[in-house]
């Protein structure tokens, strides 16, 4: 006799991956990380090299190199509406900052908002008043440092938000914020690389162009190596039953695959063939890898079994059967 299967929500033998946070939150985390990462790398580059491309329009001078360096807050601002899109009642989104004492969603709202405001202030001022970098008053330096702190906080927050969920063992590890931070920096570096590459077609390529590209190619290579290392640690630390561990193992391997492809493209560019197509390929690999990382970490988030389920299974001698339902896991990300 064929009976109707028990719906997953009522079936204790199916430990469903969370379905509350989907692709919208993945985009929000990804854009926030990428924007903050590009701002951090851009700020350090500015301190080290201070690249400048000044153009004259109607007698006013604008520094378009700074637009590429400090464009990160725009990406963060573009990602933030995806958080609102995920809300049940979107018009109430401003309420999301009312409990910063204990809620990481509220803290993130405040951190991201502050970073967007400070970052955009830096972007606008540096674009319209490039002389600020030659004089560099103390107030400007304070603004730079403050915005850098908030950029770091934004990049690491995306991992801390997930880490704060105590009953999803895949998320509740200190390695996750580190992984998201490194991933944010690597994708941010590639944003700078590709935007500078784009500038190279618009304005004459001077010495600054090759200097910047080479610097970020080296940055990218180092960050990819660190990210591979953290991902490997992540899977080594993660201990669950065989079936779930193998799911996570496969997703980590796929992520390392994207990173290796991006790393090879950067390596070839740095040492063999200085062709822009290699940088574009590296960018594509790392962008897809960075987004896939967030999406997969969200999709693989399975809550631990409530103790009362375990109690009943023990007392009734029920052998825990399938713990993770592949079918449910796949169907989750269709819609």
């Amino acid at each position: 006799m064929i009976t109707e299967p028990t719906p997953p929500i009522r079936n204790p033998n199916v430990q469903r991956p969370q379905r509350e946070w989907g692709w919208e939150i993945a985009i929000y985390l990804y854009m926030a990380g990428m924007g903050a990462g590009s701002f951090v790398v851009g700020m350090f580059t500015n301190w080290l090299e201070n690249p400048s491309i000044t153009i004259q329009v109607w007698g006013f001078s604008f520094d378009i190199a700074k637009f590429a360096l400090f464009g990160g807050p725009i990406l963060v601002a573009m990602g933030a509406p995806f958080l609102i899109l995920d809300l049940g009642i979107k018009r109430r989104f401003l309420y999301a900052c009312l409990n910063p004492r204990s809620s990481w969603v509220a803290r993130g709202f405040l951190i991201l908002s502050t970073f967007i405001v400070l970052g955009l202030a830096i972007l606008v001022i540096s674009f319209f008043y490039p002389t600020v970098f030659t004089k560099r008053p103390a107030s400007w330096l304070a603004l730079e440092i403050l915005s850098l702190v908030f950029a770091f906080a934004t990049a690491i927050y995306t991992g801390v938000l997930l880490k704060s969920v105590k009953y999803v063992s895949l998320w509740n590890t200190p390695l996750l914020p580190i992984l998201f931070l490194v991933s944010a920096l690597s994708t941010g570096t590639l944003v700078l690389l590709l935007s500078t590459l784009g500038y190279g077609y618009l304005v004459p390529r001077g010495e600054w162009f090759y200097k910047m590209i080479n610097l970020w190619v080296y940055f990218g290579q180092v960050l990819i190596l660190i990210e591979c290392f953290v991902l490997a640690l992540y899977i080594m630390v993660y201990r669950k039953d065989d079936r779930e561990a193998s799911q996570v193992y496969h997703f980590v391997l796929r992520e390392i695959g994207w990173l290796i492809c991006g790393g090879i493209a950067l390596f070839l560019y740095a040492y063999f063939l200085k062709h822009p197509i290699l940088l574009i390929a590296a960018g594509l690999f790392l962008f897809i890898g960075g987004f896939s990382l967030r999406l997969q970490v969200l999709a693989q988030g399975v809550k631990e079994q409530p103790p009362m389920y375990r109690w009943i299974e023990m007392t009734a001698n029920i052998r825990p059967s399938e713990r993770v339902d592949d079918h449910v896991r796949k169907s989750l990300w269709r819609g």
């Binding site: 049940g88 809620s103 009943i312």
Partner: protein, 170 residues
């Protein structure tokens, strides 16, 4: 102890579930949804019956009103809060809820539910002190009892048994 599942030392009374009595009829879900939404729609109920159908075991899951309530901690809007006017129960203010579902992710028991029609998160509020699931449960699998010393001893007994089973590696 006949499998008494969950008791919580909140103010005064708590819901106690006996899974060995539950027949899985889901009457509790039905009356809960009618009481709270006016519609007979179990998917909008604040209680969910979990099923081990192959062995005929059922467990109605309700909110535990935990002492350290993670749903209260993670709520960004303070919509999920303790209500001092109502025995300190954990309640959700629908007018403040933005439907971010963070509380659902944070709860280890998977309790608060997202109401797809109202677009907010909802949870058991003991029906303002008169739980309808208790009233309508024919087999008395759910009871609303005092959180007194009797319950504490039962809870201790449960914890000891659970610890023994864990030690045996079952």
């Amino acid at each position: 102890m006949a499998g008494v599942m969950r008791i919580f030392p909140m103010d005064e009374k708590v819901l106690v579930v006996d899974h060995e009595r539950c027949t899985g009829c889901r009457q509790c879900e039905m009356v809960c949804s009618v009481f709270h939404t006016g519609a007979s729609n179990p998917s909008r109920s604040r209680v969910k019956v979990i099923k081990w159908e192959d062995v005929g075991l059922f467990l109605p899951m309700t909110c535990n009103h935990c002492e350290q309530a993670y749903c209260v901690e993670v709520c960004p809007t303070k919509a999920c809060h303790r209500d001092p006017a109502n025995h300190n129960w954990v309640t959700i203010d629908k007018k403040r809820c933005i439907g971010c579902r963070t509380c659902i992710i944070a709860c280890p028991f998977g309790h608060p539910f997202f109401d797809v029609q109202e677009r907010v998160t909802v949870k058991c509020d003991y029906c303002d002190g008169d739980p309808q699931c208790v009233r309508f449960c024919e087999v008395k699998a759910i009871s609303f009892t005092d959180a007194d010393k009797t319950n504490i001893s039962r809870r201790r007994e449960f914890a000891n048994k659970f610890a023994d089973l864990m030690k045996q590696g079952r």
